[in-house]
């Protein structure tokens, strides 16, 4: 987000609701995400006039119509490119990019990569439901192997993309995860907003119609403690409880240089070798986003957060520098270079 003077505009959740009928399927995870966003916008003092939601195509990309701010529902996969133009044209605008697993990882994968590598200051919310919803249920680039769908009746054979691993690989400086109905989602989004630069948030989202309860393994309230690893900067990576079968932690296996799950006895996580989360540690971030769910819990929260200068600052800073001491004199510009004067009348006119 911006490091300019605090905007501190007073709004309420209601101020961020539009008069448009929300057209997602009843029970869709998108509702919860919309509410989470509308809840935190007043909390961060966002100004509706300076907030722009930019989206591509897909169920998630209808999002801008439901937020009372400026909004641009663009074309499939290209939201990052539109956002780049908007931000470079007016860096004071606070941009929220809404995309999905098909929009952001498939048709728009290229743009997602370049937005992250350039580090355009904006929040990228990638709603991952592991399916194409709007086109009626085809498998997506994040669908798990074997996903049976109208286009893959025998099960999908391709390996799924990992959005957070992709983001880290693309050079993102903020990578986080949450899920639609999580109480923590608002906090994750606020952290994304507080990060100056491209903040990538993968939000697991339940597609009630085509991929129902796909994330229940870790997102369902039952068993949540044992299956969710909520990362907090400076705190040990602990999950589970005595009730859920014991407190566990994530430790580094020095022999294989990989992560492992360890039991924590009597709360002595140090003795168990549990790692303290350092959001600036990219190497560990890579390991966390790649942890296979099952043997490991799902890493959630702010996985990586290490800001560096933003793209718009670099571009516009260079513009300012290049303009220093120069006057925009069109007449002079047109007559630049070697010129000559024709006097009198010349030969045959053309």
């Amino acid at each position: 987000m911006n490091d300019m003077t605090p905007i501190a505009v007073q709004t309420t959740l209601k101020d961020w609701e539009t008069d448009q009928e929300v057209r997602w399927c009843p029970g869709c995870g998108d509702y919860a995400i919309l509410k989470a966003v509308q809840r935190i916008l007043p909390e961060i003092g966002a100004d509706p006039a300076k907030t722009v939601f930019v989206s591509g195509i897909g169920c998630s990309s209808r999002f801008p119509y439901y937020v009372e701010s400026y909004g641009f529902h663009t074309i499939h996969g290209r939201a990052p490119a539109f956002a780049t133009g908007v931000k470079l044209a007016n860096p004071e605008l606070d941009i929220w990019l809404v995309t999905g697993d098909g929009d952001g990882m498939s048709i728009g994968g290229n743009h997602t990569m370049h937005l992250l590598r350039r580090n355009l200051n904006c929040q990228v919310m990638l709603f991952n439901n592991e399916i194409y919803g709007l086109t009626k249920g085809q498998y997506s680039p994040t669908s798990r192997e074997g996903t049976s769908s109208p286009s893959t009746p025998l099960g999908s054979v391709d390996h799924p993309a990992l959005p957070c691993a992709f983001a880290l690989g693309s050079g993102a400086r903020f990578v986080a995860r949450g899920f639609d109905v999580s109480k923590e989602l608002g906090g994750v989004l606020k952290a994304a907003h507080a990060h100056k630069g491209a903040a990538f948030v993968e939000i697991f989202q339940n597609c009630i119609v085509y991929n129902k309860d796909r994330f229940d393994d870790f997102a369902a309230p039952k068993g949540a403690e044992a299956s969710q690893l909520w990362l907090k900067d400076g705190e040990p990576m602990l999950f589970g409880s005595e009730k859920s079968g014991g407190v566990k932690g994530i430790a580094l296996d020095l022999a294989t240089l990989s992560l492992k799950v360890v039991d924590v006895v009597d709360g002595d996580w140090q003795a168990a070798g549990v790692i303290v989360h350092n959001a600036k540690n990219k190497a560990v971030a890579h390991m966390l986003v790649e942890m296979p769910f099952g043997p490991f819990p799902m890493a959630l929260g702010v996985i990586f957060d290490d800001p560096r200068p933003t793209y718009e600052d670099a571009v516009l800073g260079q513009d300012v520098k290049a303009r220093e001491g120069k006057v925009a004199d069109l007449g002079k510009l047109l007559a630049k270079g070697q010129t000559w004067t024709v006097s009198g009348t010349a030969a045959d006119p053309v």
Partner: protein, 627 residues
């Protein structure tokens, strides 16, 4: 800024008696083997046929000191598609193998001509010998001409490396390397030269092979670097007739300057999103140097991102511009549809090249007219403007900006490889002669009922307001889905789509009333034959029509800038002629538009060889039409 007072120069430069020929002068050190090559050329009957003439220019001294001004040796080749009468015209291209060669020959070069210089020879010592205080390749003193400078010596050495020649012998192959490059640029066959080299070095096949390798390497360099030849210059070289200040300008420069001027006249900063593609990249290269005019440039990750970023910038209140060539324009199609649907201003420059697909990247064609006028999904009308020459591209770019912002629409500006690369003398315009068209963004709620803002409330011309995000109280959402009138709320009910499709069409049709009526370039406004052109065929058509008229034929030349919508009077104008001939470098695209719009029997004259029309070809077609 140096101003050269040389009132006779442009006239002299344009006084080429065989305007469809190209004169190339090779100049180097007499020790470079220049004379030998040149001499062999003139002696070689195989090469000195009727489409090639050479003109050797030996120094008086047989062995003048190396690198000195008086040691320069040159020979000149006149490539031509018709019989060559002389090889002695002012050169269009100068190949300068060292600073001395440049110094002694450059003044003979036509304004806007091309200099190819061996930068490897522009060493401190050689510069001193040629009495240059600063490197002329770097100080802007050659601005009057196009300059291509690269290390020919090094490139030649690399190309003949496999043959194990000594350094001196290897460097002698430089001539062949540059000749290879010239052959690429002018589309000439290498085979006769290869034969000539084999014969010349028959006693030393290694030398023959090395020379052939150098020739091929120079040719390959041109191809790989996609250097376009300046062949077209001669066709569009107008003789500057009016007194005033002149400079040379290429189409790419003129487009860039025109876009800057357009943004200034609109009072807007400009955002340019581009992706490298031949022959359009030069516009990006030019604009990046004009930041003080409020220009921000963005080299996007692809063509799609380039246009989308420009639309994003337009949405945010700048003048969004993107540029490409046919294949890139194809990729931009969907985004153009969004700009049409969201009714945002945008200028799209298409420097056309031969197609389809990759086609002929360095050659010219006018085959993207259908793409510009019709090439999008849905009923997606947008204005299309075509520049006729490098200088004309300036005015056309301003016109494109004006229409884009006044009508809240994307506008396509068509140029082509020919216009983009060609340089021509240009009467430097006075910016104050152009009428500003300042923009007003919506600042307050336009809803008379006092409810929410109405982003699709159209004015009398059918144009919606431009609302910048950041404006308090005017929050709204736009997108590519069909929308209700006024509110812009999602609505794809049958009646609404009918109404909005009609409204979008009516708005673009209405542009016709905001453009000048169609005039006649040459000849009467009625008569036996109208030759109707558009774009870069202007040069050959105007000259062919002039020649035909000089012979007493009743023929007029009409050249159309506004391809879509067409000028309001064009239909009536064309109906005043018995016959209409439409020469185009495609298979008849504008002809189809004219037939469709006016139900007239417009006859095609088509050429898709990647080569511009010759005057003779159009003259012959006029003869045939009037026979």
């Amino acid at each position: 800024m140096a101003t050269v007072l040389a009132d006779t120069k442009p006239t002299a430069a344009a006084g080429n008696s065989t305007p469809e020929a190209v004169v190339v002068r090779f100049a180097g050190d007499s020790g470079d083997g220049m004379q030998l090559t040149g001499g062999q050329f003139t002696l070689s009957t195989a090469l000195a046929g009727n489409d090639l003439a050479t003109f050797p220019d030996f120094p008086a001294e047989i062995r003048a000191p190396q690198g000195t001004l008086f040691g320069v040796s040159a020979f000149q080749i006149n490539f031509g598609s018709t019989a060559i009468e002389t090889a002695g015209d002012a050169p269009d291209v100068l190949v300068a193998m060292n600073p001395a060669a440049l110094k002694t020959n450059v003044q003979a070069l036509k304004p806007g001509g091309l200099i190819i210089a061996d930068s490897g020879e522009f060493t401190k010592r050689n510069l001193e010998k040629a009495k240059y205080e600063v490197n002329p390749l770097e100080d802007g003193s050659l601005a009057k001409w196009d300059l291509l400078a690269f290390d020919i010596s090094a490139l030649t050495l690399e190309s003949v490396k496999p043959f194990g020649l000594g350094n001196k012998e290897a460097l002698r192959c430089k001539n062949m390397w540059t000749l290879g490059l010239a052959l690429w640029m002018f589309d000439r066959d290498r085979a006769p030269l290869v034969e000539w080299l084999k014969d010349k070095f028959r006693k030393n096949p290694v030398l023959a092979d090395a020379n052939i390798a150098a020739l091929n390497a120079g040719h390959a360099y041109g191809e790989t670097a996609e250097l376009a030849g300046p062949l077209k210059k001669l066709q569009i070289d107008p003789v500057p007739s009016a007194p005033g200040l002149y400079r040379t300008v290429t189409g790419a420069e003129a487009v860039s300057l025109g876009l800057v001027a357009g943004a200034q006249l609109a009072g807007l900063p400009m955002f340019f999103g581009g992706y490298p593609i031949t022959p359009a990249s030069a516009i990006l290269h030019n604009l990046v140097k004009l930041k003080e005019f409020g220009v921000t440039t963005f080299q996007a990750e692809d063509e799609i991102a380039a246009i989308c970023s420009a639309i994003g910038a337009s949405y945010a209140g700048q003048l969004g511009v993107t540029s490409s060539s046919g294949p890139g324009i194809a990729l931009k199609g969907e985004a153009m549809g969004l700009a049409i649907m969201t009714e945002l201003p945008l200028v799209i420059v298409n420097s056309q090249r031969g197609g389809p697909s990759t086609g002929l990247p360095t050659k010219t064609e006018q085959s993207d007219l259908y793409q510009a006028v019709y090439g999008r999904n849905g009923d997606a009308p947008l204005p299309v403007i075509a520049a006729r020459s490098p200088a004309d591209a300036f005015d056309c770019a301003i016109e494109a900006c004006r229409i884009a912002v006044q009508f809240m629409t994307p506008v396509i500006l068509l140029t082509d490889g020919y216009i983009a690369n060609a340089a021509e003398p240009w009467a430097v315009p006075d910016p104050s002669a152009y009428q500003p068209f300042p923009i007003e963004f919506l600042a307050e709620n336009n809803n008379p009922a006092g409810g929410k803002v109405l982003p699709y409330k159209r004015d009398a011309k059918g144009v919606r307001p431009w609302i910048k995000p950041g404006t308090p109280g005017l929050m709204h959402r736009i997108g590519g889905i069909e929308k209700a009138p006024e509110t812009g709320d999602l609505d794809y009910s049958p009646a609404v789509h009918q109404l909005q499709t009609d409204a979008r069409k009516a708005k673009i049709d209405g542009v016709a009333s905001a453009i000048p009526p169609q005039g006649v370039e040459l000849g009467n406004t009625t008569g036996k034959l109208a030759v109707v052109g558009w774009g870069s065929t202007y040069g050959p058509i105007v000259q062919a029509v002039r020649r035909a008229r000089a012979k007493g034929q009743d023929v007029s030349h009409i050249h159309v800038r506004h391809i879509w919508p067409l000028p309001e009077n064009l239909g009536d104008l064309l109906k005043g002629f018995d016959k209409v001939l439409v020469p185009e470098m495609n298979t008849g695209q504008f002809k189809t538009v004219l037939r469709d719009q006016y139900l007239i029997d417009a006859r095609p004259l088509n050429k898709t060889s990647g080569q511009p029309y010759t005057i003779a070809e159009i003259e012959a077609a006029i003869e045939a039409m009037l026979a």
